[in-house]
């Protein structure tokens, strides 16, 4: 019973995730989509868009800041929209973890920041394609810290 329930949950989740991805495929940007039901993971590979590798390191935050300032030589046409933390806590990512290039809906919960035992959901703001992941699993985050970057102007 429990297993069945979980399985149907997983299927529902994948359905929910895959549909917008397929739409994105149609727009021609994505070249590969792998769905792993067992691990409940999705892998999306995007065509040939030069972008900094995102490791959640300080370096990345720096690049993001430069993007925002618009002064970086290879800054994208539109600045990244940042999803920031409004609490001090520890970041936990949703499973499956989102990847760069993935398009997510505005309501999508990308993870949560746990503070004083309370899970404060991190949502995708206005939604769109994820351009940067700036936080690592289990990382302490502060107020205003950028967690995810989205391609602007969606």
């Amino acid at each position: 019973m429990q297993n069945d329930e979980r399985e149907s949950d997983v299927r529902g989740e994948i359905e929910r995730l895959v549909r917008p991805l397929l739409q994105t495929f149609d727009e021609g940007d994505l070249v590969r989509l792998a769905v792993d039901e067992e691990e409940f993971a999705l892998e999306v590979v995007r065509r040939n868009r030069p972008r900094a590798v995102t490791t959640g390191s300080e370096g990345m935050t720096g690049i993001a800041a430069a993007d925002l300032a618009g002064g970086a030589p290879q800054a994208p046409e539109r600045p990244m929209e940042l999803v920031t933390s409004d609490v001090v806590g520890v970041f936990r990512g949703s499973r499956p973890a989102v990847v760069i290039g993935e398009r997510v809906a505005a309501s999508r919960e990308l993870g949560y920041v746990e503070a004083l035992g309370i899970r404060n959901p991190v949502r995708a703001g206005r939604g769109g394609a994820i351009a940067a992941i700036m936080v690592e699993e289990g990382e302490p985050v502060e107020y205003g810290q950028p967690l995810f970057g989205f391609e602007g102007g969606e």
């Binding site: 609490v87 001090v88 806590g89 503070a115 004083l116 107020y143 810290q145």
Partner: protein, 459 residues
Amino acid sequence: MKAGLKKVLIANRGEIALRVNRACHELDIPTVAIFSEADRESLHVKRADEAFCVGPGPSARSYLNVPNIISAALISGADAIHPGYGFLAENARFAEICRDHGIAFIGPSPDAIRAMGDKATAKRIMVEAKVPVTPGTDIVESVEEARAFAKRAGYPVLIKATAGGGGKGMRAVHAGQELEQALSSASSEALAAFGDGRVYLEKLIERPRHIEVQVLADTHGEVLILGERDCSVQKPSHQKLIEEAPGPRLGAEFRRALYDVARDAVKAVKYVNAGTLEFLADGDAFYFMEMNTRIQVEHPVTEAIFDIDLVKEQLRVAAGERLSYRQSDLRACGHAIEVRVNAEDPANNFAPAAGTLKTVQLPGGPGIRVDTHLYEGASVPPYYDSMLAKIIAHGRDRDEAIARMVRALRETVVDGVKTTVPFCIEVLTDPEFAAGGVDIGYLPRLLARESRLEAAAVS
């Protein structure tokens, strides 16, 4: 000696955050700073071992953001929080929340904070402990009742509205024939302003001095009385501008009585950690006003004359250790004065200023201590207290302390915002201040005199 705290989160900003940071580092305790987005480049953030942004500029969402502050303490593994002064320093609920999360609040118990934070409760506890309070009545029901009190206490008396504030429903009465009329006009004014016309009477102290006593107590029952400070040089808003220790022109008898009362008060409240009892002094008499349950801005003048580090003692007490002094170890030496360098314009009713500091030259030399978070290029955000620096001068006697302070203020250059420096030089070189023992009406009188002179010069 190392205080038994593992890591201290400093829940404050500006010079006091740096002050606490220094005490922690001298005791080899790592520190965690919190800051608002407006303070990202502030010195207290750079000097701490770790730092967390807890909110945007306005204090309500950052330095008063209890969940984010507690969360920062838990994540960083801090086992104690020093609240400094202002912000959460006298918030009993915050002290309780710290305790509930296993974090030591570096200050008194929540009960003591609560009791002293409520004026009526504080006054009742002090009356029970035989601490003198300003003589007064409960709500007066009749003119006869008011007349009887005025006769007993002596004129002048002050009529105050129980719902009062901002001087509404307040009347000074200097003679018996004015009483009835003043009562009815105060009462109707209070009724109009607050919807509550009830009034009470207090003895009016016309030219009181502000004399306060620094106390320090540990959890082992040791109570230290660290002398008095005179903080009578106050702006018209009653904010202190210049403080000194010891209080000038106070007799040995007065001091003995004051310290005995302070000790009784500390015991009555079962007070632990650093605190200050504020009194209004009127000749040989003094009356309890309120107790501040925190470290105060002007604590360095006491540190100077007793050669003690009050903040380090606070850390020890919070760790459950004994104070590192006994009363018999303490001898006051010389005289100390503190001047608050505020980003304010004294000529414009001390209106606060914000901006970026272009040139910053701070004084030094013999007997001078400067506690500040200033540096060249630092910004003064509009959200917070306008104090930029405290300059403390210590000398063998009051004259030397004043001379050092005047010299230090003349060395001080802060360009970019208007400051209280030039005005404080005027005060320190004024013969009335130099004579010592001014009352709290001194500064407003000086300002009025100056504006009259200015008006005369213009016309």
